[in-house]
């Protein structure tokens, strides 16, 4: 096989975020999340900064997260959110918006997912190439985002994370985990 330049690194970065999510879901309670995430980041020689609650709506939260990643050091940053879910899929709205914000920024990845079933069974893991993949897959990201077609849009880029059957329900308010990763310093730094 002819390996694609950088594809191995991106695979590892994606695997790290998915492993971190799995570890968080398995954690006994929310208080353990920072510790679990630090251990996951540490395993890859990365620092993890726990940022606490994201109180904004998903599209605004996406701006906050993308900015924090852009300005922050190499490593992981994590937040949690408690978005309402009636008739909406907030982590997907968040991820679709974030995809547009980190477009072209190769070292940045963002994962947003529910940690218990009350938040739905879909999350998303986007990166700097997500928008390009959506375009190649025949979707216009801005239009689809405006139409609220986030699930199909993220699926077209291969960025949807299926969490069917994950975790134990019981939370009064659905909890969402958001992890940002700056995988390495951008070229030229």
């Amino acid at each position: 096989m002819r390996a694609q330049p950088g594809s191995g690194g991106m695979q590892r970065a994606r695997a790290l975020l998915l492993e971190s999510l799995a570890a968080t879901i398995a954690a006994p309670d929310m208080n353990a999340w920072p510790q679990v995430l630090r251990a996951a980041a540490d395993g890859h020689g990365l620092v993890m900064n726990w940022r606490g609650l994201l109180a904004d709506a998903p599209d605004t939260a996406a701006v906050r997260v993308a900015h924090a990643l852009e300005m922050g050091p190499v490593g992981m940053q994590a937040w949690y959110a408690a978005w309402p879910t009636e008739g909406a899929q907030p982590p997907l709205e968040f991820a679709a918006a974030a995809a547009g914000l980190v477009a072209g920024r190769e070292p940045l990845l963002v994962l947003a997912a529910p940690v218990d079933p009350s938040g739905g069974d879909s999350g998303a893991l986007i990166d700097g190439e997500s928008c390009a993949r959506m375009t190649v897959a025949g979707f216009d990201p801005e239009t689809e985002l405006r139409l609220g077609n986030c699930e199909e849009l993220l699926a077209s880029a291969g960025d949807l994370v299926n969490l069917a059957g994950h975790g134990a329900s019981g939370a009064v308010t659905p909890q969402f985990l958001i992890i940002g990763l700056k995988w390495h310093a951008p070229a030229g730094d």
């Binding site: 096989m1 002819r2 694609q4 594809s7 695979q11 695997a15 190439e129 390009a132 993949r133 190649v136 897959a137 025949g138 979707f139 199909e152 699926a155 077209s156 880029a157 291969g158 949807l160």
Partner: protein
């Protein structure tokens, strides 16, 4: 999971790879850009792949035509056809021509693509499992008397006195390979000379990593036979290319590549000793690859051959000293390069006669032929390359490459100025 993606657009290849890696992290997606790679060889059945993804179109190409061809090949891996846009009639036609599944590249649906690939892979694995235990499979692994698992015989390419050449499909390599199979022939001392030669050829090509040298995949033994699996060149050799006609600039460019690869070989202390157009293959229209190191020898071992009074090589391309069983050095190969360049430029060999001995005599005694007047400015170069005495030739391959490069640059400059 191993996929072959017949798709010209690198961004779509990357998209396929990304999607597939979501479900199969270790997926191997081999890109086959049709414009660069050309038509899929008739013998290729993609049996080493779980599925083949085929684009509906690319600039100047029609995937539906390819599907008609591939769909007619018994045993070809399942094809997932990728429409440019959703189109019910095209979808129906693709299924009619044998597509296992059809997906649309416009508004790409992740699950539909992966489910199609998974189903195709499942069917292919079942079919392959059935096929592997069949009599047909056993027969397809048969190369003459040798049974070589892991390779499916496509056809016999050439039958030689010491080895037979087959085109085969490898389960490990990306596609077709040339399989060189030799019978076990032990001499009085119990040494299998053919195997020794194979081993030498493999070691030389492995040792000299150079872009203009054939890739060897495997040296193995099956039953009482040794075999060598090597790169297959669908574009054929330099003889075929010459028939299509070559400009002087193209000829000189090819000669530069040959000088460079000879430099790499000589630097490793090896002489090729059998440089000729039939041993020079076209990897692409621009890139050559040297094959057949069966005649190559460590420079230090030359006397062993002359002591026995044996002459190896092809008379038309032999240096005067090689033709007369004298001690050889790198300049002998460079003389052969001169003969090849002469033929590339003129379409003819410099010395022709009815019998090989006369040709050998002419290499030593007949004056160097004159080039056609329109090529006259290349005559000084040719005179150095084809000099009768080694000391009158260029000192080494690097000097030869430099001289040919300079001649080419001058030729192009004058052609552009004219």
């Amino acid at each position: 999971m191993r996929l072959l993606a017949i798709e010209q657009e690198p961004r779509v290849q990357a998209l396929i790879r990304h999607h597939a890696s979501c479900r199969w992290p270790a997926v191997e997606v081999v890109a086959y850009p049709p414009l660069e790679r050309g038509a899929i060889p008739a013998e290729f059945l993609a049996q080493g792949f779980d599925a083949v993804l085929l684009a509906q179109s690319w600039p100047g190409g029609d995937g539906m035509d390819w599907l008609r061809d591939l769909g007619n090949r018994a045993g070809f891996a399942p094809v997932v056809f990728m429409l440019d846009q959703e189109d019910a009639r095209a979808r129906e036609a693709a299924v009619g021509w044998g597509a296992f599944a059809v997906v649309s590249k416009h508004r790409f649906a992740h699950a539909a693509l992966l489910d199609s690939i998974e189903a195709a892979s499942h069917r292919h694995r079942l079919a392959m499992a059935e096929w592997r235990v069949s009599a047909a499979a056993r027969e397809s692994h048969r190369f003459g008397d040798a049974h070589i698992p892991g390779y499916r015989r496509a056809r016999l390419l050439a039958r030689g006195s010491v080895s037979h050449l087959y085109i085969a499909e490898s389960e490990k390599a990306e596609g077709l390979v040339v399989l060189k199979v030799t019978p076990s022939q032990r001499d009085d001392s119990g040494i299998d000379q053919s195997f020794e030669r194979f081993l030498q050829e493999y070691e030389i090509a492995e040792r000299i990593r150079h872009p203009n040298i054939v890739h060897l995949h495997e040296l193995g033994i099956a039953d009482d036979h040794a075999y060598l699996a090597m790169e297959y060149f669908p574009l054929g050799d330099l003889r075929r290319r010459m028939k299509a006609g070559l400009s002087p600039a193209e000829s000189l460019q090819y000669a530069v590549q040959l000088a460079e690869v000879l430099g790499a070989i000589h630097e490793a202390g090896i002489l090729h000793r059998d440089l000729k157009p039939g041993n020079v293959m076209l990897r692409t229209a621009e890139q050559l690859a040297l094959i057949d190191f069966g005649m190559a020898k460590q420079a230090a071992l030359q006397m062993e051959l002359t002591d026995k009074g044996l002459i190896f090589g092809t008379p038309h391309y032999m240096s005067p000293e090689q033709g007369h069983g004298q001690r050889l050095d790198a300049r002998s190969d460079l003389y052969s390069l001169g003969v090849v360049l002469f033929e590339l430029l003129t379409g003819e060999k410099p010395y022709r006669a009815d019998n090989p001995m006369t040709v050998l005599y002419m290499h030593r005694n007949t004056p160097i032929p004159r080039l056609d007047p329109r090529l006259a400015r290349l005559q000084p170069l040719m005179d150095r390359l084809l000099a009768k005495e080694p000391e009158d030739r260029y000192a080494d391959a690097a000097a030869t490459a430099t001289a040919i490069c300079a001649a080419r640059a001058q030729w192009l400059a004058e052609a552009n100025g004219a």
